[in-house]
C-alpha cells in the first residue's frame, strides 16, 4: 500500500510558496483580473482627457448611477448561478416603485417600503411557482411576467407617476443622504452585495445554489430540495427588485410605473455575464459582477463626460463589451471547442 504518494501527487496541495503575483491572481480570479485591467485602462484613458473625472464628486456620481442597476445585477447573478434567468426584474421594480409611492402617500414611508417589499415577495413567488409547479422554463415564465407585472404597474397607476416623496425625510435620505460619508444608494448596494457574496460563498445555501446550477439532477439526488431553492431565489430577486423600485421612487421623487425600470433586465444580465457568470449555471461571483457594474458605470459616465454622442456611445459600449469578454476568454485558456459557454 505504498503507492499512495504517486497516486495523489497533489502539487497544488503542497504549499510550495507560489509567487505573490500568482497568489493575488488566484484570489481575485482570472476573469476578474481582466475586468480590473479594463477598468484601470479606462480610468487612465478618460482621466487623461478630463482630469475632473478623478474628482470625489464624480466617484459619487458614478456610484449612485450604478446603484440601482447594480442591485439587480447582483441578484441576477444569483439567478444565473442557479441556472435560470429573471427577465421580469425591471417590471417588478416598476410595480414596487408605484406601490411604494402610493402607499406612502396614504400611510407613510415605512408602510410604503414594507408594502413595496411585500409586493416584491409576491411577484417573486409568482415567478417561482410558475416555474416550479407550472414546469415552465424560467426565461419564458419571466418573459410572461415581464409583461404582466408591467401591465399591473400601469393599471394601478393609470400610467401616471404617483405621489411625491421628495419632501419626506426617509426617502430623501435614501436618495441624497449618506451613511458614514457614503451616499445611501451606494451603501445599500455595498451592503446587499456583501450579504449576497457571503451567502453564496460561505453558507450551505449558497453552495447548494451553485450545485443546483451545475447539475440540477445530481443536486436533487444528493438530497437538495431544488424547488425550495428555485422559489427562494426568485423571492430574493423579487425583494431586491422591490428595493430597486423603492430607490427609483426615492431618486425621482415619485412612483414610476415604467420609466426608469424598463430595460433593467438586459442591463443586469449583461453585467452578470460580463462579470463571469455562465448562463448555463453553476458559475459566477458577486465580485465579478460588481466589477462589471463598475466598468459599465465608468464607461457610461466617461463617455458622457467626454461628450461622446449617444449614438457613438452605443457603438463604443458594444465594442468594449466584446473586447472585454474576448480578453477574458483568451486569458481563461479554456479549450477552444464547441459553443462558448
Amino acid at each position: 500500500m505504498n503507492t499512495t504518494q504517486q497516486v495523489a501527487p497533489a502539487p497544488a496541495a503542497t504549499p510550495d510558496a507560489p509567487s505573490f503575483a500568482r497568489r493575488v491572481v488566484g484570489a481575485v480570479g482570472v476573469q476578474n483580473i481582466s475586468l480590473l485591467i479594463a477598468i484601470v485602462a479606462l480610468i487612465i484613458f478618460i482621466g487623461a482627457q478630463n482630469p475632473l473625472f478623478f474628482g470625489i464628486d464624480n466617484v459619487r456620481v458614478i456610484g449612485t448611477a450604478v446603484a440601482i442597476s447594480g442591485l439587480l445585477a447582483v441578484v441576477q447573478t444569483v439567478v444565473i448561478i442557479m441556472g435560470a434567468l429573471d427577465i421580469s426584474v425591471g417590471s417588478i421594480a416598476g410595480l414596487a416603485s408605484v406601490a411604494s409611492a402610493m402607499i406612502f402617500t396614504t400611510a407613510g414611508p415605512l408602510l410604503g417600503v414594507a408594502g413595496a417589499i411585500g409586493i416584491g415577495i409576491v411577484c417573486g413567488l409568482i415567478n417561482g411557482c410558475i416555474i416550479v409547479f407550472g414546469r415552465v422554463n424560467p426565461v419564458i415564465a419571466t418573459l410572461a411576467t415581464l409583461a404582466a407585472f408591467k401591465g399591473l404597474a400601469q393599471l394601478v397607476s393609470d400610467g401616471r407617476a404617483q405621489g411625491y416623496t421628495g419632501a419626506d425625510p426617509f426617502f430623501t435620505f435614501l436618495a441624497r443622504g449618506t451613511i458614514l460619508g457614503i451616499p445611501t444608494l451606494i451603501a445599500v448596494l455595498i451592503v446587499i452585495a456583501i450579504l449576497v457574496h457571503v451567502v453564496l460563498r460561505y453558507t450551505s445555501i449558497g453552495r447548494n445554489i451553485y450545485a443546483v446550477g451545475g447539475n440540477d439532477i445530481a443536486s436533487r439526488l444528493a438530497g437538495i430540495n431544488i424547488n425550495r431553492y428555485i422559489l427562494g431565489v426568485y423571492v430574493l430577486t423579487g425583494v431586491i427588485a422591490a428595493v430597486a423600485g423603492i430607490l427609483i421612487t426615492a431618486r425621482t421623487g415619485s412612483g414610476q410605473p415604467v420609466s426608469g425600470s424598463e430595460g433593467l433586465e438586459l442591463e443586469s444580465i449583461t453585467a452578470a455575464a460580463l462579470g463571469g457568470a455562465a448562463l448555463k449555471g453553476g458559475k459566477g461571483t458577486i465580485a465579478g459582477t460588481i466589477l462589471a457594474v463598475i466598468l459599465l458605470g465608468i464607461l457610461t459616465n466617461g463617455m458622457t463626460l467626454l461628450d461622446v454622442n449617444a449614438f457613438w456611445q452605443n457603438v463604443a459600449k458594444g465594442a468594449l463589451l466584446v473586447v472585454a469578454v474576448v480578453i477574458q476568454q483568451l486569458r481563461a485558456g479554456d479549450r477552444r471547442i464547441g459553443l462558448p459557454a
Binding site: 475632473l52 449612485t64 440601482i68 421623487g253 463626460l305
Partner: protein, 318 residues
C-alpha cells in the same frame, strides 16, 4: 397585385347616423399625457352620445403603427385619429386610410401625405412646444441677469426619437431668439432614454465636466428629462436659485410645487392632453354626423405654468 392600384376612394359619403366607432391610435400610450388624451377622447365621446372610442397604444414602434392602422381599417371604424410615433410614416398611414375611405386626422404630431399636403391636425406640435419652452427659459435667464460665460444649458432627450429632436430644436431656437441679442450660453445635449433616473445619471457626468459653471438652464424632451437633470444639479449642491428648469408636461414638476419645495424646476409647459383628446373626437364626430369638414388646425390650450398658477391652469398632480 403591385399594391399601387388606384384607390377607389369612396370618400366618406355624407353624414352617418347611428353608432360611430372612432379609433384613437397613440404613440407612447402608456405615458401620462397620452393617457390623459385618451381620457379626454372617451369623455367627449360619451358626451356626444353613441360614439365608441377605440384606444390603441403604438409604443414607439412605427411598424406597429402601420399594422394597427390596417387593423382598425379592417374593423371598419368610422374615423381614425392618430398620433404617429414618427412623422415619416405619414404618407403610408394617410394613403391607407384614403384607400379605405375612412377620414383621418392627426393629433399632437402633424403629418403630411406623399404630396406634402398636411392633413387636419389637433394639438400642438413638437416644434411649437419647444418654442414655448425655449422662450420661457430665455425670459427667466434675462430676468435673473445671468451671463453666457458662467451659464450652461442642459438639453436632455432621447436622441433617436424624432419628436424629442423637434422639441429640443425648437427650444434651442426660441431660446437664442428670446435672448434679444445677448450672447447665448453653450448648449450641452445629454442623451438619455427619456427616463428620470437615466437623465439624472447622465447629467451627473456632465456636471462633473463643468464644475466651474455657476448657472444652469435646463430643458428636455419631457418632464422626466428635465426633472432628472434638475435633481442631479441639486444633488451636486447647486442651489435652486442657480437653476432655471423649464419642464415639458408639468406632471412631474408640479409635484415640487404642490409640496411647496424650493426647486430648480421653475416653470413648465402644460398642454392639456384631455383637451386635445376632446377636440379631436369632437371634430371627427362633427365631420361624420354633420359633414362638417375637419378644421385644418385645432391648436389646444397650452400654457407655461409655474409654482403659483399650475392648479388654476388645470394641471392634475397625482
Amino acid at each position: 397585385t403591385s399594391g399601387q392600384e388606384a384607390a377607389s376612394t369612396a370618400q366618406s359619403s355624407g353624414p352617418k347616423s347611428g353608432k360611430l366607432t372612432i379609433a384613437l391610435l397613440q404613440k407612447q400610450g402608456d405615458q401620462q399625457y397620452f393617457v390623459d388624451e385618451a381620457t379626454g377622447a372617451t369623455a367627449a365621446a360619451k358626451k356626444l352620445g353613441d360614439v365608441d372610442v377605440k384606444v390603441v397604444n403604438l409604443g414607439t414602434d412605427a411598424n406597429k403603427a402601420i399594422s394597427e392602422v390596417d387593423s382598425v381599417i379592417a374593423q371598419k371604424v368610422d374615423g381614425i385619429i392618430i398620433v404617429v410615433p414618427d412623422k415619416q410614416i405619414g404618407p403610408q398611414v394617410i394613403s391607407a386610410a384614403k384607400t379605405a375611405g375612412i377620414p383621418i386626422m392627426a393629433a399632437d404630431d402633424s403629418i403630411a401625405a406623399a404630396d406634402g399636403k398636411e392633413i387636419p391636425f389637433a394639438g400642438f406640435d413638437g416644434t411649437a412646444m419647444g418654442t414655448l419652452v425655449g422662450a420661457k427659459a430665455a425670459e427667466l435667464y434675462l430676468k435673473d441677469g445671468w451671463t453666457a460665460a458662467d451659464t450652461r444649458v442642459l438639453s436632455a432627450y432621447k436622441q433617436d426619437q424624432p419628436n424629442c429632436v423637434d422639441r429640443v430644436d425648437g427650444a434651442a431656437k426660441a431660446f437664442t431668439a428670446g435672448l434679444k441679442g445677448a450672447e447665448a450660453p453653450k448648449i450641452i445635449t445629454v442623451g438619455t432614454d427619456n427616463s428620470a433616473p437615466d437623465a439624472q445619471n447622465k447629467a451627473g457626468a456632465v456636471i462633473t465636466g463643468n464644475a466651474d459653471v455657476k448657472h444652469w438652464v435646463v430643458w428636455g424632451c419631457n418632464d422626466e428629462n428635465e426633472t432628472g437633470v434638475v435633481t442631479a444639479l441639486q444633488n451636486a449642491s447647486i442651489s435652486p436659485a442657480n437653476i432655471n428648469g423649464v419642464g415639458l408636461g408639468a406632471y412631474l414638476t408640479c409635484k415640487d410645487w404642490k409640496a411647496k419645495q424650493d426647486t430648480g424646476n421653475k416653470a413648465a409647459l402644460f398642454i392639456s392632453g384631455v383637451e386635445v383628446g376632446k377636440a379631436a373626437v369632437t371634430s371627427m364626430v362633427d365631420l361624420l354626423r354633420n359633414g362638417k369638414a375637419l378644421p385644418l388646425k385645432s391648436i389646444a390650450d397650452t400654457a407655461i405654468v409655474d409654482a403659483t398658477n399650475w392648479e388654476k391652469a388645470g394641471v392634475v398632480c397625482t
